[in-house]
Every structure is written in C-alpha cells, then in structure tokens.
C-alpha cells in the first residue's frame, strides 16, 4: 500500500505508467483501433504521399498506406520484439549471474570473463555484424540483440548475489544445511529482484530503440512489416516533401521509449533506496 501511495505521488512515474498501459492497449487491440487495418499489406497507388488530413491524420506513405494505421499496427511488433529480447536475455543472464555470484573459483571467473568480453564489444556494431551474418531479418536482429544484452543482467545479478552471499542470513542458511539451489532460488533471487525488474523495464525501452535502429539500417524488420524504424528509413527518399512520413513513426518510438524509461526510473526510486534520485 505504502509503495502504491509513493508511486502515485511520483508524477513522472505515473505518466510513464500511463504511456506503457496505453501502448500495451494499442498493441493488443491494434487491428480494431486502426482506421485502415488492411493497410498493413495493401497498397493504394492512387493516394500516394498525401499530407495529413481528416481522412489520414498522419498522411499516407509512398505506397498510399495510412501512416496512422501503420503506426498503430507497429506497436505490437515493437512490444513483441522487446519482450522476447528482454525475456530471453533474462533467461540467459540471470542464471549465469546467480551461478557466478554464488560459486567461487574457476566457474565464477569463467562466466564473468565471458561476460566482460561481451560487455567490451560495441553493442550496435556487434548486433549489426551478427544480423548481417545471419541474413538480415527480424529474427536475426532479435538473436543479435539477445546476444548483446544478456551480459547486463549477468553483471547486475552477479553484483547483487555477491553482496547477499556475504550477508549473515545466507551464512545462517548454510549453517542450517540448506542446499545451494534452495538458497539461490528461494532466498537470493527474490532479494535481487528489484534491480532486475528496474533493468528489465528500462531494457524494454532500450531494446525498442536498438531494434528500430537495426530496422533503419536495413538489418532488422522487412517490408511490409509496419515497423517504425523501417518506415523512417523508407521515408528518407521522399524528404523534404513528405515530412509527415518520417515524423510520426519517430514520435511513436519517442513516446513509447519515454514511457518505459519514466516507469523504470520511478520503479528504481521505490524499489532501490540506494539509488534514490531525490536523496
């Protein structure tokens, strides 16, 4: 209750939460909300590059498709990609971090050295190269993003586990003869949950951003996917005439990512007092 009350007082976190709820709503009900849902694939050559109007509030693109509809339809893909990428990164990164943090000696060393190698790689360049390696498509972009994002979770979980490992209650549990698996999953993991949740929330926004960048550089989503990054990339040929074509998909990215970041920031304040911004 106290947490909810504190959350409600944090204006920007509430805004973030509202945005995220709205984006999720649009992603789920997109096909029913979009004025022209068939414009995901259909082209209408006779109404190419129309400026915004009542019929097409965001204008139309180079194949005569309604941009508002495509922005709405693009939300689902963006969320799906980021959820899958962050979920898979957690599935890889969290157990590794727990293992590295709880054990001592070569296993811990090995895991953290490999993590360091991946953290030392420039993420965008690595993702681009990987996407090229596997043939440019949304799937390879997602694999590339997971390959570059899991180490962040390993790092955080490792640090938390190390800290908790040294604490009294773990010593006590060990003394009572609890198995390491039990200690790690029942006692350490719940205590390390808040930084993971915060990281995951911000990671969702961040992944949307990087996935859009890959789409923009031609290494991510492929047509006719109503991907926001891809739309911006295609719009460049029609500038400066068709300014609306580049503008609205970009605003969609901005608002969505902003929502996740505001929410993540608010969560951090509540869950992790050590990182409080308003100490």
């Amino acid at each position: 209750m106290l947490i909810l009350k504190k959350f409600a007082q944090d204006k920007s976190a509430v805004i973030g939460f509202a945005i995220v709820v709205a984006v999720v709503f649009i992603a789920v009900f997109g096909p029913w909300l979009a004025p022209y849902p068939q414009d995901a694939t259909m082209s209408h050559l006779t109404r190419r590059l129309r400026p915004p109007s009542w019929a097409f509030p965001f204008g139309t693109d180079n194949l005569g498709r309604d941009i508002l509809s495509r922005v709405i339809l693009g939300a689902r893909g963006a969320l799906k990609v980021s959820l899958l990428v962050v979920g898979a990164s957690m599935a890889i990164g969290v157990p590794l971090g727990l293992a590295a943090g709880y054990s001592r000696g070569w296993l811990s060393e090995a895991i953290m050295r490999v993590t360091d190698v991946f953290l030392a790689l420039p993420q965008l360049i690595l993702a681009l190269a990987l996407a090229q390696l596997m043939g440019p498509s949304l799937e390879s972009a997602m694999i590339a993003l997971v390959a570059t994002y899991w180490p962040f979770f390993t790092r955080i979980v490792y640090a938390e586990t190390r800290r908790l490992r040294a604490s009294l209650f773990v010593d006590a549990l060990e003394g009572l003869g609890a198995s390491p698996t039990r200690i790690v999953f029942l006692h350490i993991l719940p205590n390390a949950a808040s930084p993971i949740i915060v990281r995951a929330t911000i990671g969702l926004g961040f992944t949307i951003l990087v996935a859009a960048t890959l789409g923009f550089l031609g290494m991510g989503a492929t047509p006719p996917d109503p991907d926001w990054g891809l739309a911006i990339s295609q719009s460049r040929t029609f500038l400066p005439g068709a300014w609306w074509y580049a503008t609205f998909p970009g605003l969609a990215i901005l608002v969505t990512v902003l929502g996740f970041n505001l929410l993540g920031d608010g969560l951090r304040d509540i869950m992790d007092p050590r990182l409080r911004r308003s100490r």
């Binding site: 190269a129 090229q132 960048t213 970009g250 990215i253 308003s278």
Partner: protein, 336 residues
C-alpha cells in the same frame, strides 16, 4: 595500488583475446562471399575461386585466425577486399573525423549537461526539476537516427541555415594540416573561412550525437549536487551567509562533479558507437560511416579492424574507470 592496476590490466588480456576470437569467427562466417563480389559483375565461378585463393579465403579458419593475430600485432589489418587499400591507412585517415565529432559531442554534453543538472538540483522538486527530468529521460529515449533526420529536415532542408551533409563545402580548397582535425588545422593555418565552414558542418551531427550524453550528465550532476548540498560544510557556509550563487557554482559543483567525470569517460565509448548512426546519416567521413558501409558490403577485414578498435577503446575506458573507482574506494581493490 600498483599491483591492483597491473592485475586489472592483465585481466583485460583474456577479454581482448576473446574479443578477437568472437569477432573473427563471427565475421568470417558471414555468408556473403567477398570473393564473389570482388570478382565483379561478369565474373565466372573460376575467377571467383582464383580470387578466393589469392586472398587466402580458402584456408581453414584457425590458419586464417593465426595469420590475422600476427598481422594485428604488427598493426597490419590487411587490404580491404573492396577498395584494395590497406585498412590501417583508411582507419588512420578517418579516425580524426570521428574523434573531432566525438569530442565536439562530449564538449556539448558536458557544457550543457552540468549547468542543467545544477539548475535541476537547485530547483529540487519544483517545476524546472520536473521538466528537466522528463527532458533528460526523453534525451535517452530519442532514436538518434530519427532526430538526425528531423534536424536535417528543419535546419538544413526547410530553413537552410546549416549544411545538410559532409564535413566541408566543395568550393573550399584546403590541403589539411598536421592534426587531421579540420577546425584545428584551419586555425593553425589561419584560414578562418575554412574554420567557419567546418564549424557549420559540425553543428548538426555533434548536436545529434550529444543529446543522449546531455541527458546522462544532467542526471548525474543533479544527483551529485543534491548529495553535496546536504553535506555539513554547505550547511555551515549557508548559515554564515556565504554568497549563495558562488557557493553553488564553485564549491558545491567542484565537490559533486567527481561522479560525473567517470560518467563522461564512459560516455566517450558510447559516443564512438553512436557515431555509426550519426555519421552514416550526415555522410560524415569518419569510422562510423566506414563501418556501416563495410557491413553492408560484407567487407570482413574492415569489420574486424573497426570492431577490434572500438573494443579496445571500450576496454581501456573500463580499466580506467575501475582504476579511478579503486582510487576512490580501496575496498574494491581486492575484488577486481
């Protein structure tokens, strides 16, 4: 302490080796066959095979890798399979442009981020703080490629205030100077026209690249200042009536930017990576546009060299940050 530094640096060696292995194996497995592209539009399969042999592309991977290691040790990255020019020369030629852009963005981020952070802290929990918080979180949420295009659209296409692309105008003839930094060279040779031209070309890319950094530094400065404001010496000085503005902008700031300084170091690494997108949109002739082009054309030697270079810069910055942290907090020294 010296032992700590030595250990920390040694620990980077397996990381760097891992970096070499990963990038090499990964990029060497790219399905696009550089030999086929190299042979050209009308090539026969035999010609392709001949070129593959000529560049050692038909050797087993471990052999190619060992050869690559010995080459890297001599700072020889081989010839680009596309331009047939030594990759090392292209990198040396293009590095200054990227550094110029990165330093300009770093400067902007610091020059704007620190004052904004202080303003936010001084107005803690009032509306300027709230606005700056949204803005600084928004700065991180901006898609660089989109804001770059928006800047181009507004300032170059619609208003025609600033150049759209490139690093200098065509009509300008300037042989360059000793540093490779165009603005600096222009000043050294007393060419104000070249300097101004270069400056105008730099504004949009540097601003685009700096936005994320401005946001980050604003937030860290704000947190640092808030922290310091609650320290005893500030309360004391306030109590004795020391001029408020001088207190904040000199003493508090000096005590709180330490945290931001490490952040600035880290930022440098991320700016170099961010340059990939910014450079390719503004046709900036640096390493970033070079990399994107290499990736699009599967020029694996260039991809290896650039990934390695940026990886080394990352690693160096990481070591440096760890050492600085070790200096501040001795407890961390036995953990590394």
């Amino acid at each position: 302490m010296l032992r700590f530094i030595a250990r920390r640096t040694l620990l980077a060696v397996p990381s760097l080796l891992g970096l070499l292995i990963i990038t090499f194996v990964m990029i060497r497995l790219v399905p696009a066959d550089p030999a086929a592209a190299l042979a050209g539009d009308n090539a026969t399969p035999e010609q392709v095979a001949q070129i593959r042999a000529q560049y050692g592309l038909d050797q087993p991977l471990p052999v190619q890798f060992l050869k690559y290691l010995s080459d890297v040790a001599r700072f020889d990255f081989g010839d680009s399979v596309y331009s047939s020019r030594p990759v090392a020369i292209d990198i040396v030629q293009r590095l200054p442009a990227t550094l110029e852009l990165t330093f300009a963005a770093l400067f902007l981020a610091t020059a704007l981020g620190i004052p904004l952070g202080v303003v936010a802290a001084l107005n803690h929990n009032r509306w300027p703080d709230f606005v700056l918080r949204i803005v600084s979180i928004g700065g991180v949420a901006l898609a660089t490629f989109w804001i770059a295009i928006m800047f181009q659209l507004l300032f170059a296409m619609k208003l025609d205030w600033l150049p759209l692309r490139g690093r200098s105008s065509v009509g300008i003839s300037f042989a360059g100077g000793p540093t490779g930094f165009l603005m600096l060279d222009a000043l050294l040779k007393g060419r104000l026209d070249v300097f101004w031209d270069a400056f105008r070309h730099l504004v949009l890319p540097a601003l685009t690249l700096s936005l994320g950094g401005i946001a980050t530094i604003t937030r860290f400065t704000r947190a640092g200042v808030l922290d310091t404001m609650q320290k005893d010496f500030v309360t004391y000085e306030r109590a004795v009536g020391y001029p408020h503005r001088r207190l904040v902008w000199v003493y508090v700031l000096r005590n709180s930017v330490v945290a931001s300084v490490t952040q600035i170091g880290l930022l440098f690494g991320s700016l170099i990576a961010g340059a990939v997108v910014v450079e390719s949109i503004f046709d900036w002739p640096g390493l970033g546009s070079y990399t994107v082009n290499a990736i699009l054309t599967a020029d694996f030697k260039v991809m290896l060299a650039v990934t390695l270079l940026v990886g080394v810069i990352y690693a160096a910055v990481n070591i440096l940050t760890d050492i600085v942290h070790g200096l501040i907090d001795p407890r961390l020294r036995d953990q590394a």
